[in-house]
Symmetry: C2
Subunit: 427 residues, 2 copies
């Protein structure tokens, strides 16, 4: 780390201020950087990460030992752990970000006024992005790379358990910046385990333009409540699949199974299955059997329980619960209208899908479900920036401001208006 001044003080607030002021200054240079320079920095950083494998593994071993001391769960330790494959994946990830189009400078719209003024809306970076995340050290590389590509300075605050690994990764990113002639301060890590650093970040809307939290619900909740600047995040992904009465039975079965079971721990995993009361009971029977046979616990209302003895009792709380596990709540509803009401009431405005062959029911669902992503005849597990073709995402937002849905490099930009005349004055 090259932050001797910041490290000399124990005061997390002063550290964060110093980092953020340096980031703000660096952001002005980065905002004007050529695409080539940014890509060079990303490529050089990828190579630096590959070259730093021994140092990274050593730093990571310290983090893992610390995590074990702190009695982190096996799942947390696994997320924390780096191995040669994961290190290579980080490097390759930076290279794929280099290969993405540069959003900065893109003319989003252009028009001419009757008086001859030519107006363009041109993408510019947001400025300084604060990323607050938990144990996965690869977020350091992923988030740092996406911020860099979109012309934004990044202040990275990783979990205290990954501090050594993230430190080495940050150093590699900074070496990449330096190689490309860009300021090291474009990507900085908060080099302290002091939790006060998070509060210090959230309190400085003048120095940090937006916060992206990545992690568990309590982290996101704290950030959303305390941040004085905009937050791109989702608190939960309480996603629904609604099987309409006019659904294709085999399609419904495949989508329900995939939406729940492909990966249960991601935000796009389905948590509640709604089934039209008019649907052939055999469809729900088949879905329940598919899931139960794979070890998925089912919690249903009375009607669903009557259908299959393996279904446990669902309480009101279940409709509000994001399990992130092999558990699914199941409810019969009276058609698409009741499904929409259930989703808008209990859901998290993330991703919801209808399975139906009825175009009217689909149209209504897509229009009236108030979620960042609404789907027809496909699996909620596609809720992902990569699957959307954005190349990579820093997260998914359920907010309605600025970024909604997957947050990729485009969503990390703002714009300005460029007006060109030949001497026009306003009458």
């Amino acid at each position: 780390m090259s932050m001797a001044t910041a490290l000399d003080t124990d005061d997390a607030t002063a550290q964060v201020r110093a980092l953020a002021e340096a980031a703000r200054a660096a952001s002005h240079t980065l905002a004007l950087a050529e695409t080539g320079a940014k890509n060079d920095a990303l490529t050089a950083a990828a190579n630096a990460i590959r070259g730093a494998e021994p140092a990274l593994l050593e730093a990571n071993a310290k983090d893992v030992a610390f995590g074990q001391e702190k009695n982190l769960s096996a799942a947390m330790i696994d997320r924390l752990k780096l191995d040669p494959a994961r290190i290579e994946a980080m490097a390759a990830g930076l290279e794929s970000v280099a290969a993405l189009p540069d959003p900065v400078g893109e003319v989003m719209a252009a028009w001419e006024r009757p008086n001859g003024l030519r107006i363009e809306r041109v993408r510019v970076p947001l400025g300084v992005i604060g990323v607050i995340y938990e144990s996965r050290p690869n977020v350091t590389a992923d988030a740092g790379g996406l911020c860099l590509k979109s012309g934004n300075a990044a202040i990275l605050r990783g979990g205290s358990e990954s501090i050594h690994s993230s430190g080495v990764i940050t150093e590699c990113l900074q070496r990449g910046l330096e190689d490309a002639g860009l300021p090291r301060a474009c990507i900085q890590m908060v080099p302290t385990r002091d939790r006060a650093a998070v509060g210090a970040m959230l309190a400085r809307p003048d120095l940090i333009d937006v916060i992206v939290p990545r992690g568990g619900k309590s982290l996101i909740e704290r950030v959303m409540n305390e941040a004085r600047m905009p937050v791109f995040a989702h608190l939960e992904g309480l996603c629904h699949v609604y099987v309409d009465g006019a659904a294709d039975p085999e399609m419904a079965r495949a989508i329900a199974f995939n939406a729940k079971m492909r990966r249960t721990g991601i935000c796009g995993a389905a948590e509640t299955l709604l089934v039209d009361r008019r649907a052939d009971p055999a469809i729900l029977q088949a879905i329940i059997s598919d899931l139960a046979e794979e070890g998925c616990e089912l919690r249903g209302d009375e009607d669903v329980r009557k259908l299959d003895g393996r279904v446990k009792d669902a309480t009101e709380d279940d409709w509000y619960t994001e399990y992130l596990d092999t558990i699914l709540s199941v409810r019969l509803v009276d058609g698409v209208e009741a499904a929409i009401d259930h989703i808008n009431h209990y859901g998290s405005h993330h991703t919801d899908s209808i399975v139906t062959e009825d175009a009217d029911a689909a149209r209504r669902f897509l229009a009236e479900v108030d979620s960042a992503i609404v789907m027809h005849n496909t699996s909620t597990q596609f809720a992902d920036g990569g699957e959307f073709g954005m190349g990579a995402e820093i997260g998914i937002s359920t907010g309605r401001m600025h970024a909604r849905g997957p947050v990729g490099t485009e969503q990390l930009t703002s714009f300005k208006y460029v007006v060109r005349g030949e001497g026009q004055i306003r009458p």
Copy 2:
């Protein structure tokens, strides 16, 4: 007013909550309303305003009497006053909003993935918009109309001095909604002079999605500091004209004069003139004479004062000052780079213009000045949603999030992703 329940309580917080809950509920209906119904409501509201002229003039007379009692300035009283022409202008304004394209439902982007998924980004309303404004009662109609057209419920909090006029206007807007079969609660006015109502609005990000403040600096400052939700606003319009060494002399003269003098009280009026030290002194001489002869006070640095005895001494404070008056600060700078530095340091990131025939200098200025609107060879007074072709604006934002520059109906929308498949599941 039809808010008997809310009015029964003296508690501004409870009033605001009741209004905002009703607005939230109404916003769901309005979000799905057909363009035709929204336009019908706008047209019916326009006619209701025309029909209510006697009631409006009577209510306005009460407001003016109250304002005179409160010793409002003549300028404030003038802003408050309605006459038949201003009433007709409000009605015509609503009709011109009806004539604008409906942003809701617009497909902003559409693409297909290799797996056949078709993805659309579709505009949807933001939800509930709180508008907090000062004396001009016409903001009630303008803001209410723009929110309605963009599918958003509006909570209007006018100045206490315009409460009777705004009440009648709100009633007309609600009659328009009713005529079109839309909920009256789509547009509501906070029916109390209690200042606590503003704080109550700013504290409810769960009920109000965005706040648009319109008024003096102290109002905007309070809203920006206290609001728990995003704010679309500019604190100041400290706009600059930079006359480059390579400027066309006559063009520079015309633009400088227009940018300052066309209207001095609007946010796009120039407050500081920067002139390249290499420019022919005759250009600045001519600009100073033009302005001085029209009664504009000039405050300059030493170099400028040497040029013309009518120029007074500028202090450091002048470079930070938005006069909104017939005063202009003037400074010589060393070329475009120094001009950019001055603007980014002292400016308000609103609107800044370069006058030059040098394409490189222009390119640099447009890229490096960090303002919502950057201009080349034209007057800053064009900083206006109407002049941009947006039809109408609810304000101008200098923030970088979501809306930047003029805020018209498009900027009052969010979007959702609509994903259509034929049974795709994620591998």
